[in-house]
Symmetry: C2
Subunit: 328 residues, 2 copies
């Protein structure tokens, strides 16, 4: 139903990520990196941490990278008909914003129980929203309907080559920005666009790659343990950006190139989030703090990774009209 009408894809390699980076450099923010001696000193292994602040990316999340690269690979005819996607989260906003900046029409299918601020953001970026019932078949049917009506190209949130390659560009920047070589990098995993892209971008660099996944949505870690992708996900976690099952294209890349996916509790995520707010003065969403939660975990620290660790802060879109999670 949701057949990606994407053009022939670039190969899933580090070289393609370099190509993607050149393509999107003029439109993305080169987000800054941050360190904190206090946070590093609090870790048993005293790893110097380099936080890549993708919460400061356009649209407030790394998703703008994949959306921008996907757009850049469409033909003029395709662009003239617009792009579409389904999402209740950061990908919808990112695609809407990237499309608006290029003067391209954007159609977004959102479940009718989506949070008001997310709907408002997508609308503010000028996308046309079609609501559907909050289940997968309704979503697929509605998207197919939108595609049939408009001829718009579907830009998938994570399970597509160009999305993965675009997301991998964050690590290219981090490696160039860090003042010393990294021993490892940790990225969160939901659908796996960011983690698979990060793993591809790390190829040949000697940087060890780890994933970070909430215990309440640990389909990727379980799938790795069982040797095959799980299609189900519990989705019982505060990290709303990570509630999706890992993608078909994403899973084998992770399986091959990621050393381990560290599973963390919601409590660990909230603790990490608060530390980032307090110490780095950055507004990050729970998903955005998950990689740091993994670095702080006993499981990661017991691996004894010595040296600097890159930590990808994936996003900062949080409903600030609600009480902060540590105050609930």
């Amino acid at each position: 139903m949701e057949k990606p009408s994407q053009p022939a894809s670039l190969p899933l390699t580090r070289a393609s990520i370099v190509v993607a980076h050149e393509a999107i450099k003029p439109v993305i923010h080169r987000t800054p990196i941050f360190s904190s001696s206090t946070l590093s000193a609090s870790l048993p292994n005293k790893n110097t941490l380099y936080f890549k602040a993708e919460n400061l990316q356009k649209g407030g999340a790394f998703k703008f990278r994949g959306a921008s690269f996907s757009l850049s690979q469409l033909t003029q005819e395709e662009l003239a008909k617009g792009v579409c996607t389904h999402s209740s989260g950061n990908h919808a906003g990112a695609l809407a914003l990237a499309a608006r900046e290029r003067g391209v029409k954007c159609y977004v299918v959102m479940p009718d129980n989506s949070a008001t601020p997310k709907v408002d953001a997508v609308r503010a970026y000028g996308a046309e929203i079609t609501f559907c019932a909050a289940n997968a078949p309704a979503r697929a049917a509605t998207l197919a309907e939108v595609q049939a009506r408009t001829g718009a190209t579907f830009v998938p949130p994570y399970d597509a080559a160009h999305t993965i390659l675009g997301q991998g560009t964050a690590l290219l920047e981090l490696l160039a920005q860090a003042p010393e070589p990294l021993a490892a990098v940790v990225a969160p995993v939901g659908g796996g666009g960011l983690l698979a892209g990060t793993a591809l971008a790390a190829e040949g660099t000697g940087v060890r790659v780890f994933g970070a996944e909430p215990a309440g949505a640990d389909d990727c870690a379980r799938g790795l343990g069982e040797g095959r992708r799980r299609e189900d996900v519990k989705a019982e976690t505060i990290a709303d950006g990570l509630r999706t099952p890992v993608g078909v294209l994403n899973f084998p890349i992770i399986q091959e190139k990621v050393e381990r996916v560290i599973v963390v509790s919601d409590e660990e995520i909230v603790d990490a989030m608060r530390l980032i707010w307090e110490r780095l003065k950055l507004v990050v969403e729970p998903s955005g703090a998950t990689a740091f939660a993994a670095v702080r975990s006993k499981a990661f620290q017991e691996l004894g990774v010595a040296g600097p660790v890159g930590v990808i802060i994936s996003g900062g879109n949080i409903d600030l009209s609600q009480p902060l999670p540590w105050s609930r």
Copy 2:
């Protein structure tokens, strides 16, 4: 009582701020600048805004600049005896941190009603705290006592040449970082260290300088209207960093070089603060959002400043265990 035992001061000129910047560059963060097309588009004059994120400075506020420069100008004998100050806010933390990084002892006099997180921060930076009653005579007497006992040099929070010169370095960086020349810059005013330093740093650049002050602590704006410094301040504002009366050394600099001090309500400050959190994804304290509140105000927009405006975000130290101000 609180006689500054500072060494002979550098002259209060832009050239001295350049000297100060060279002196502190190795120890401060060169904080990033941020823009937001959405925030700019929301202004009647559509000014491109360049936010200087001093909430990302060491210690979470610009105060680290002045503290670092003050320390750098002390002799080895003075450093051996340590430094001292009184403060319930960001200056105490900044001096404690700057002193610790240089291996210098630091003594801080704090009112016994200081907020726990601020006391904890100063203690975490290794300073020795002496509590006193929450009034000016008790504070002065206690500081004199500490100085008599230790021989420590008093580093004033704002009313001292080296403090002012250090704070002015933020604008030097902002001017170098902005991709185009600024038409104006806006900085908050409490004691006036940052605003006076900013005004000195702008000398000869053609950049117009404005102050931003909360209506509940508008002694500087009133003093400018009356033609002489007011010694009293109401201090009824959420912007706790701006509750101090403007300093003796600071006021005439502001009087001579600042075009106007814009007065904003607490409501305007909270609105500006929320926009910075939501759009820039930065944790800023109310004082830190006051300059942006001024830029958004009718009073400023009616001045018709055309072109890019620099906005100094002064700090990000806020008690995150409390409800956010727009939810209270």
